[in-house]
Amino acid sequence: MTGHPEPLAVDRLYRHCDPDSLDFETSDELEPLDQLIGQERALEALRFGTGIQGQGYNLFVLGPSGAGKHEIVQRFLHERSRQAPTPSDWCYLHDFKQGSHPRLIELPAGKGARFRRDLEQLVDELQHAIPATFESDEYQSRLHEIQQELGQRQSEAFREIGKEAEQDHIALIQSPNGFSFAPRNDEGEVMDVEAFQALPEERRQAIQRTIATLQEKLQRTIQQMPRWRKEVQQRIRELNEEMATASVGPLIEELRETYRDHPRVVEHVNAIQQDVTESINALISQEARSNGSMASVFSRYQANLLVDNAEQEGAPVVYEDMPTYQHLVGRVEHQVHQGALLTDFRLIRAGALHRANGGYLILDVAKVLTQPFVWESLKRALYGARVKIESLERLYSLASTVSLEPEPMPLDLKVVLIGNRMLYYLLCAHDPDFLELFKVQADLEEDVQRDTSTQRLYARLFATLAREANLKALGRDAVARLIEHASRLADDSERLSIHRRAFSDLLREADYWAAQAGSDRVTAEHVQEAIDQQVYRASRVHESMERSILRDIMLIDTAGEALGQVNGLSVIQLGGHAFGRPTRITATARPGRGGLVDIEREAKLGGNIHSKGVMILSRLLASRYAGESALSLSASLAFEQSYGMVDGDSASVAEFCALLSVLARTPLRQSLAVTGSVNQHGQVQAVGGVNEKIEGFFDICQARGLDGSHGVLLPGANVVHLMLRRDVVEAVRAERFHVYPIDSVDEAIGLLTGVAAGERDADGCFPVDTLNRRVADRLREFTDIGRQQSDGDNRRDGKSP
């Protein structure tokens, strides 16, 4: 015969941390903690992931929010990066062959800035040297000579023709439009028409022939002039190029010498020299000087230092907190000039991938996935091992305007994604590229074993956090309370949570309450005040629900007995605050073939796990009590006054007890509440949130008045998870409240009914007056009733029984 389980002793409800076990007075005496507690697996993964070479060996650091993933990763990578070589500088330069395809040049760290300065200096010198050269006496004289040579050549040609004409008494007359020939009279004036007509025919014809000859000569001369002018222009061009080479050559030569070990730089410098020579005519024109086009030409000779690692020691560790497409892969900016958007290679801006090249890039995976086009771009960059700056509108053909196509930068970096487990597993399941590119997972532990050594480390952790935040020193009682709270956060008296953010927040708030109290150190009371205040601030909904119960709006009995009615326990999680509350679970049963109806499921308010629990208890009922005969039962289970989704199987023990109560016609004690799931053999299994559930029921009972009959039944396997509130513990100590560990449904029903459950004897029968016997008898009655009904139906249908 199963006996009633004994209530748990007080020391099983809460695992204290004795302040006297801590060998310091305040946290000031403690050494700072520079190690991670309990994260060996994750650290090993980080070491492996950052050490191994090969495509796709990028990292995904997964762990719960607030676990300090960023601090862990940043600290590790900064340490690691110090041993790595400093990566190169990268510059974008104008491409003189294809202006819209800026060239990318790699230089050793620190040389990029020097190269940029050298080019700026070159431009500065060119701006002075070119005008000085072309204003020099030498240039002006030579230019003038060439120009005058043409003028003289033209004048000579006209003069020769004019002289020849004069010899034949023919005048050469010039007008703005051209030249005319006309015969002169003896006075040297141009003949008028009458005088000409008066000349003998022979003479007139001779004059006309002479004029025709002169006209032909002049025509030939004039037609030669464009060629002469072209020759002069060519000579001027050659002169300009010669002067430009003389002016620019020494400056360029100096650069060539400085960067002789960098062929691409030398190539670019040569291109600058060639461009200066080719552009010199435009550069020295009056328009170029006045409208600033000279500055525009010179700007092409500058360098856009995209990545400057001059100050970098070791490999860069870049965290991009806003990984938009542009922030990740860079962008090409534009300037508005007279209403038009203009750009050039100087407006190319680096993205996080450029800055992190040669080192590590840390990204929050949630942000990467929520920013448009970022995930695809990141994968593309990692697959191609290069980053290409492209505007989205161009990438997706939304704009067809001519823009820059900068040369892509080759990539050699490790990307470290940080996110929660759900995102990791979703990506594994739904993105085939994911595991190709992020082969290393660094999975952070959520809690660690609680023992003397870890408690000591936690003390140092709290001391370090307080010191980093410039908070008051922690008394050892405060540290002890914090360690206990770390167990409560882990929902396990034998484990400690690693939730750094929760500790940091709690420490700061405890510091606040210590300051309010005028204390120069943080004590356990201040920590408790901080915890209580956190709970209070988050408890509006919790208290509202409690009020509903106490005002009998939500029907929960905490005294007396009731048939087919039990107090189940559930946990509600609202933001960062979780609380438990009792829920009335009821059962009905009658003969029939309907089986067990889960009303929550029928109403589509029950989740799959809850349905599974109900199915299990249905099978348990049948196998336990119906033996090999068919179960003739039409029963139902419901969560009363529950209007939202119900899921989980932690109410299955309670549901089973309610069902047995109604079948055995034996009432259940309402001063008790039950949590735990049941398997097909009637064993009670562990569930989650036991602390909140117990405290939830305790609050209601305490409000109505504890009389020693109240208590909670929980799976025995959950006892190690107990870290109950102090008032609950004190009530148990005063024997006004009890916590019963149960391992089977028989123990639960025994406690709830006060009637022994009973075990089958050698004949397979339950003893008389046991609860199980009552259930078995009742189900047999149901079977008989069912059989009789079936016989009656068959007779009406004319069938033999």
Binding site: G151, S155, S175, N177, V190
Partner: protein, 283 residues
């Protein structure tokens, strides 16, 4: 060495206009000059009788300055063209004078070009001429031969604008020459330097340069007019050397007496062709 106050010496600035584009470009420069001289701006447009007669002849025809093609020009067409050019010049002159708040006039004479130019000017006028440029022959201007003849015959000051057109903010250069004509040229240079507020450079022939007294005299003469002339030795009469020197000193104008050897015959034409600064000839 004599001096006199001739700040208001020029009564009229007469510019010979040929209707080409270059006239339009130069007119503003000439208007500024007239403004500085507080003189009336007179545009002179000559309907060349030789051109009109040539057009009426059966063997007449015009060879295009750019195309080199021969095309007949009827007298009526030429008359029409001249009228259009005169109208254009009238508008242009009015607009330019308006901008500079000048008194102005356009004189249209039908005569032989040189004769008309000389007849239209008086002793206290400044006749402004301009040479055809080598870069832009279609823009108009007069040949160095025509200009040389006019420089020799004019009885007033003549300014010949070269390729660069503008005197701008550059020194005025004068030749130290003997005699009254030389002194008149020096005075004119000094006057121009004063009204344009520019430096005065005096080119000293080698023999004189050795004479420190000559240099001192020039400096004293300039000082009396509130200027500090700078003397530069200049050897010989080689035009290329002179042009190089003017270029080196960034000169804006060269003032010469009409009888100066550099202006005689073909040498004068060469000087006009080679120099691209303003050349001022004083009778």
């Amino acid at each position: 060495m004599t001096t006199r106050d001739d700040a208001r010496l020029i009564q009229r600035v007469v510019v010979l206009l040929d209707g080409g584009r270059r006239a339009q470009l130069l007119l503003d420069e000439v208007a500024q000059l007239a403004k500085r001289e507080d003189a009336e701006l007179v545009g002179l447009f000559v309907e060349d009788t030789e051109l009109l007669r040539a057009a009426s002849l059966p063997c007449g025809g015009e060879i295009g300055l750019i195309s080199g093609s021969l095309r007949p020009v009827a007298p009526e067409a030429l008359e029409r063209r001249l009228r259009q050019q005169a109208d254009r010049l009238q508008s242009l002159l009015a607009a330019t004078a308006g901008r500079h708040a000048l008194r102005w006039r356009l004189e249209i004479n039908r005569d032989h070009l040189e004769a008309a130019a000389l007849a239209a000017t008086m002793a206290d006028d400044l006749l402004v001429l301009y040479r055809a440029g080598w870069r832009h022959p279609p823009e108009g201007g007069f040949t160095s031969r025509t200009l040389s003849r006019m420089l020799g015959a004019a009885h007033c000051r003549v300014m010949m604008l070269g390729e660069s057109a503008s005197m701008g903010a550059h020194p005025i250069v004068a030749f130290q020459a003997p005699g009254e004509a030389g002194q008149r040229a020096m005075n004119e240079a000094l006057r121009l330097a004063r009204i344009a507020n520019q430096e005065l450079l005096v080119l000293l022939p080698h023999s004189v340069e050795q004479d420190e007294r000559a240099r001192a005299a020039i400096e004293a003469w300039g000082a009396r007019q509130g200027r500090s002339p700078r003397c530069i030795p200049f050897e010989g009469e080689d035009i290329a050397t002179l042009v190089a020197l003017l270029r080196k000193e960034r000169a804006g104008a060269l003032v010469l007496p009409r009888e100066h050897a550099l202006l005689r015959g073909v040498a004068g034409e060469r000087l006009l062709e080679k120099s691209d600064i303003a050349l001022i000839v004083v009778p």
